[in-house]
Symmetry: C2
Subunit: 148 residues, 2 copies
DNA sequence: ATTTACTCTATCGGATAAGTAGAGTATTGT
DNA sequence: ACAATACTCTACTTATCCGATAGAGTAAAT
């Protein structure tokens, strides 16, 4: 299950990726546009900033900006950041491997085997999807409003 | 994240699939062999029975048996039964679709798009893996102890 | 100086997961 | 019949975490 934090983070990042480049967006505006509780979004954006995904600008005219190109921000990083490893069980995780206490031999564990396949399939999708590529797909359905 | 219930369920089912056909296995034995708290396993097996995955036999010589062939029991059913839909978000679920309250238009929602891909990839693995096929894979690594 | 807007820590209520307890029921063997 | 075996079912406890909110603090712009 994707947490609300991760979900809101992706929504906000997509909005930032779609907006004007180097035009900071305010928390309040993002929250309103994306239907996210403002104080909750605040927390999320702060986390993204501290991970180096976003930059921020204080004071009037301030707000948040992407810290790098949308083609270099992958969903895998965002989801892991808020929800932890992609693998359904720790023993199947690539980035945060922890063995199971109740497992005699991992090489012969059916759960391990099957869940490794799930984690690989998930990682293939999320680590292969950037904000830019996701926006492209969205725009194939409905083209973006042209900037004036 | 896979719940312990789902994990224990799969482990127990694999043990049953590997054991003698039509030889009931006792909760206590399964619990000991698979390192699962006995009373907790009790609950899990009861659930599997009530879903028609297992049959049970009371009294001396009793225990649990698979209700159908291992090649016809799929991980997808087991995981859904204990952990709910495979999709990371309800709006991406095939079997339990629920729209998001905070979503203006699903067709244009990046989260929806990406998570549908994740759910499809996960479903492909879990609905494509039966107890029998999983055991086959395990046995490719280490052949089973031959029955005496 | 004042306004704007991000920064950070603390807190709270509710839900859920994991596990435990115990009384009840059906079946088998003697 | 009756005792032993083993599943059946409901209720409960405990801990943890998620989602959300509050409020004081800091930096930048005008």
């Amino acid at each position: 299950m994707l947490s609300k934090k991760a979900k809101y983070a992706i929504k906000a990042l997509l909005a930032l990726a779609e907006g004007e480049r180097d035009e900071p967006m305010r928390i309040a505006d993002l929250a309103r546009d994306q239907q996210i509780p403002p104080k909750f979004l605040e927390l999320i954006l702060l986390g993204l900033r501290n991970q180096g995904v976003l930059r921020s600008q204080k004071g009037k005219g301030g707000g948040y900006l992407l810290a790098r190109d949308p083609s270099e921000i992958y969903l895998g990083q965002i989801v892991r950041m808020f929800d932890g490893p992609l693998a359904p069980v720790p023993c199947a995780s690539q980035t945060a491997y922890v063995p199971c206490a109740d497992c005699r031999d991992e090489a012969v564990c059916g759960v391990h085997l099957a869940m490794k396949e799930v984690r690989d399939a998930t990682a293939k999708v999320l680590d292969g999807t950037s904000l830019a590529s996701l926006l492209t797909k969205v725009h194939q359905v409905a083209p973006p409003a042209p900037p004036r």
